[in-house]
């Protein structure tokens, strides 16, 4: 599903994001990516959603080589990968239902499809009753659930979660992880970037550890080791 071959990302002469990273993630896998700040986790996500292009190597998503993806193809790629962030990245001027529907509207989905899909994902994340609320009226956990719902409307094959629990208390963080596990159970590949040792250790999934832009550990049922 995801294949990185000798991928490097050099920002400036003295700033390296990734250094000769090769890894393969199968469809339906749940992978935790851990590492200290500045070790290349965010660079990895940016490469996966084509926010950055590698300076070396190739990146493939579902057999699609996105290493030198054209500007006009980026929206198509992003509709196939769901992404959630620590800071939720919700449209503040849109309600919960509008935020979720927007992801479908931009792809030209029909009104009927939007009406069918949005309530279903709202139900999955348990926010049906908050559908007309605006982001500023929601708690952190609720905002992250909206972000997950939005990421899910396209039924993506991959869900990339960049520190999704970073701003949440333990209870909300666990709820979010449970939702992500549920999504993985439906067959979606999960890339979870996190600093949370407890979450990584409880999940007992594959753990990729990055250090100075390189993969230093890749354990199938790993633990948080730094």
């Amino acid at each position: 599903m995801i294949k990185l071959s000798g991928v490097s990302k050099q920002y400036t002469k003295n700033s390296t994001g990734l250094d000769d990273v090769s890894l393969h993630v199968d469809a339906g896998e749940f992978v935790c990516v851990v590492g200290q700040s500045g070790t290349g986790k965010t660079t990895l996500i940016k490469l996966l959603i084509a926010e950055e292009q590698p300076t070396g190597g190739t990146v493939e998503i579902g057999g699609w080589d996105i290493t030198r993806i054209k500007q006009r193809d980026i929206p198509l790629l992003r509709r196939q990968i769901g992404v959630i962030f620590q800071d939720y990245k919700l449209l503040e001027k849109k309600s919960v239902i509008e935020n979720i529907a927007f992801a479908l509207q931009v792809s030209g989905a029909t009104h009927k499809r939007i009406q069918d899909t949005v309530p279903r994902v709202l139900d999955i994340v348990g926010l049906t009753e908050k559908k007309y609320a605006f982001p500023h009226q929601l708690s952190g956990g609720q905002k992250q659930r909206v972000a997950i719902a939005r990421a899910l409307v396209h039924r993506p094959k991959i869900l990339v979660a960049d520190e999704p629990t970073g701003n949440l208390d333990a209870i909300n963080a666990n709820e979010i992880i449970e939702i992500i596990k549920k999504i993985n159970a439906f067959g979606t590949t999960i890339i979870l970037v996190t600093h949370d040792r407890g979450i990584v250790n409880r999940l007992r999934k594959r753990v990729i550890t990055l250090h100075d832009g390189s993969v230093v550990l890749d354990n199938t049922h790993g633990k948080y080791q730094l």
């Binding site: 926010e51 980026i74 929206p75 990245k89 449209l91 849109k94 992801a103």
Partner: protein, 302 residues
């Protein structure tokens, strides 16, 4: 088509959810349009004022008392044959005398002297108006030839030559000032509007990034801004139109005293309405679309 309606819907939502910013943008555009229309008013008044002054300038060719009708007719035909001559009026000796008397009706000594003379001492006169004050010199030069010396007694052009030159200079200066002010005001308005729209888009940079993140194409992101530009342009044109209309209605009575023409500015604007609305609409629309295009470009790169 579905996408187009969505873009329109998003544009309307943006306008109402960022209402204060939308109002501020329209206010800036209205101020810009008022500046431009003020210059149009100044231009119209200046042109009319200069035309009025020019209208009052003419050249009088006074014929010798003894000049025969045949000679006078010859000079008259010659002068009227110039394409620069707008109109001419021939005054007979009697009409000249009558005008002279009227002009000096309060000067009894002149009137008495006239009465003492048994016959009319004044010759007939040809009053000539040309298209431009500078054309008078050409006419005068043309008749200042030896063969007409015994026919033409005097030309009053020399008396008004300095005034004509001054008016010409003033006209040129006023026109230059209006052009300079127009450029200055347009530039100020352009930069103020440009920055207002840039700030408006800067405040929405995170939203633009999020829209890209969920797979929106650049045109889907740009679209609402173009629709907003159309709406802002229409609103600002409407508000500016109402203000200008009322402004003209206030100014016109004052100008009527000067130019003797009723509703001068309102008629001027009516006569040029299509041109003014067309140019101003195109200008404001191009400015808003161009500015938002430039401002949004850097947020669309990733």
């Amino acid at each position: 088509m579905v996408s187009f309606f969505r873009i329109v819907k998003f544009a309307l939502e943006d306008i109402f959810r960022n209402f204060s910013l939308s109002v501020m943008t329209v206010v800036i555009l209205v101020l810009m349009l008022l500046s431009v229309n003020t210059l149009v008013v100044v231009q119209a008044i200046t042109t009319q004022a200069i035309a009025s002054v020019k209208e009052h300038i003419d050249v009088s060719i006074h014929f010798q008392h003894e000049a025969t009708e045949e000679h006078i007719s010859e000079v008259r035909s010659y002068v009227e044959s110039f394409p620069e001559v707008l109109e001419s009026q021939f005054l007979t000796k009697e009409q000249v005398l009558e005008e002279f008397k009227q002009a000096h009706q309060e000067d009894s000594s002149i009137l008495t002297s006239l009465e003492e003379l048994e016959e009319n001492p004044l010759g007939s006169t040809l009053v000539v108006k040309t298209r431009e004050p500078s054309d008078y010199e050409k006419i005068i030069t043309a008749i200042s030839v030896p063969e007409y010396e015994h026919i033409v007694e005097a030309k009053t052009f020399n008396d008004v030559q300095t005034s004509i030159e001054k008016i010409d200079t003033i006209t040129r200066r006023v026109e230059e000032s209006v052009i300079f002010l127009s450029i200055l005001f347009t530039l100020i308005a352009f930069f103020v509007t440009f920055n207002t729209i840039r700030v408006a888009i800067f405040t929405q940079r995170l939203e633009i990034g999020i829209k890209k993140l969920v797979g929106a194409t650049n045109w889907f992101i740009r679209g609402p801004y173009i629709i907003e530009s159309v709406i802002f342009t229409i609103c600002s044109m409407f508000v500016a139109g109402v203000l200008v209309y009322h402004g003209l209605a206030i100014l016109d009575p004052y100008l009527e005293v000067v130019f003797g023409q009723k509703a001068f500015l309102q008629e001027y604007f009516s006569a040029h309405a299509t041109q003014l609305i067309g140019i101003e609409f195109a200008g404001v629309f191009a400015l808003t679309v161009f500015t938002s295009g430039i401002a949004i470009r850097k947020y669309l790169r990733t």
